[in-house]
């Protein structure tokens, strides 16, 4: 991670016609940051604002000091890549999925390297993505994001569909990415224990915790 720092100023955002973030000011630094809060607190909405999958109703989101609205949204999404809560893989093999993102911008993916970073062996490359377990699919989602070599990973409850053993494995993978590969991570979680284990800083999005 070189300059993957987000800053939000006076951000208001709604989802499904309901206001979920109100006048939010915060900074997200390098390393691992956890976003916690109850359902409906706006954690996932905030994550989507960071790489412009959505825009705030009001306020400014900055990435590396620049207003995200001044950046090419496609470039921003490759630099700050979001992994959604539930697996949503493309039809085809694991390798097809991992190659997809880099191919969009004319690059070639290092499939074995991305799979290993995500904690999957390179033997997974030719397996049908749709036939894997949810835990394995979640790791493929991580691998295809890592294939873009992002500066920041935005993870929306990456272990919510996993059993505790698989969850520990994903957490270990994320720790390795942060500490050995310099990738910054913003992780949404319901689990305060996971927030403590993973993150250097925890941001609580409960309305009463604001400020």
């Amino acid at each position: 991670m070189t300059a993957g720092v987000f800053a939000l100023e006076g951000v208001c955002a709604s989802r499904g016609g309901r206001s979920v973030l109100r006048d939010l000011d915060l900074e997200i630094g390098e390393g691992a940051t956890a976003l916690v809060g109850p359902s409906g607190a706006g954690k996932s909405t905030l994550l989507r604002l960071l790489n412009r999958l959505a825009d705030p109703d009001r306020g400014t989101v900055r990435f590396a000091g620049r207003d995200v609205c001044d950046l090419d949204p496609l470039e921003l999404r490759r630099r700050a890549c979001l992994v959604p809560q539930l697996p949503a893989l493309l039809p085809g093999t694991v390798a097809d999925n991992v190659r997809y993102g880099p191919e969009l911008c004319g690059n070639e993916a290092d499939v074995p390297h991305s799979l290993e970073l995500a904690g999957l062996g390179r033997s997974y490359a030719e397996r049908e993505a749709g036939r894997l377990s949810v835990g394995e699919q979640q790791r493929v989602m991580l691998a295809r994001a890592l294939a873009l070599e992002p500066e920041v990973l935005l993870l929306d409850e990456p272990t919510s569909a996993l059993d505790s053993r698989t969850e520990a494995g994903v957490e270990a993978t994320l720790m390795r990415l942060v500490h050995e590969h310099g990738v910054s991570v913003v992780v949404v979680t319901h689990d305060s224990g996971q927030a403590r284990r993973l993150a250097r800083r925890t941001i609580d999005l409960r309305p009463e915790a604001a400020g």
């Binding site: 496609l74 999404r77 979001l82 539930l86």
Partner: protein, 259 residues
């Protein structure tokens, strides 16, 4: 071909078959009698009115009046198709463009290749047929697109999150929807003359045309339809998908009955 001379009594006699349908409905308690009556009345009034309008246009021999009539058909077709594609934001413009292009290109080609002479007698029915079929194809394709985008919102957004453009992310759904719009006509063309006799062939034979002439006329119309409907479906879906996305390649929030 001998001119057809049909009296109102002969037309009324064909209602006997509708009476059988109504009797079946009453017997099976299908409660379709009211709909049958409305359908008979509306078809009589609409077709009679259109008959007089077309007669007046034929008598005037004015291509401007043909253009005006076809523009009216495009407008009605556009609003009808939009009603079936309510989940597609801003569908009105793509549909209007699709129907206009289908009718315009087809008629221009028909005249340029000298398939039919530039007379209202040919342009009105061919234009009407193209617009009607283009409307159905555009409505089916966009209706399917709306359902697909709604059902596939999560994978779509996951693809956008990897840096895909809205075009790249939506391409599989657009292709699938286009196929849905075109397959009925393609299947109909494949089975024509085997499973069903198309309307033009039946009409021409009943009106006294030689079978080979009737077949040639039917082939011209079938092939014109295939091309024009493919064009309409392609334009409607290629422009229609854009309504689901913002300029920053964001998927708009879907509402159950979005206009």
């Amino acid at each position: 071909m001998t001119p057809v001379d049909i009296t109102l009594t002969e037309v009324a006699a064909s209602l006997a078959l509708v009476a059988i349908a109504a009797a079946v409905s009453l017997w099976r308690r299908a409660e379709l009698e009211g709909d049958l009556a409305v359908a008979v009345l509306r078809s009589f009034l609409q077709l009679t009115a259109v008959g007089y309008v077309i007669q007046a246009i034929f008598d005037s021999d004015s291509l401007w009046l043909v253009a005006l009539l076809l523009a009216g058909m495009v407008a009605v077709g556009t609003f009808t198709a939009r009603g079936r594609a309510r989940r597609v934001p801003g569908a009105l413009r793509p549909i209007a463009f699709a129907l206009s292009a289908a009718a315009g290109v087809t008629l221009a080609l028909v005249l340029a290749l000298d398939v039919f002479p530039a007379e209202p007698r040919y342009l009105v029915p061919v234009g009407g047929m193209v617009i009607g079929n283009a409307m159905t194809a555009a409505a089916v394709a966009l209706n399917r697109l709306g359902d697909e985008v709604s059902a596939q919102a999560r994978p779509l957004e996951a693809t956008l999150a990897l840096g895909a453009t809205s075009h790249q992310a939506a391409r599989p759904l657009v292709t699938g929807s286009l196929r849905s719009g075109l397959i009925p006509l393609i299947d109909q063309t494949k089975t024509t003359g085997v499973v069903a006799f198309p309307g033009t062939l039946v009409g021409a034979l009943v009106a006294g045309a030689e079978p080979i002439d009737a077949v040639r006329l039917q082939l011209i119309l079938l092939w014109l339809l295939l091309g024009s409907v493919a064009l309409a479906g392609l334009i409607a879906t290629s422009l229609g998908y854009r309504g689901f996305f913002t300029g920053a390649h964001q998927l708009r929030e879907m509402r159950p009955a979005e206009e």
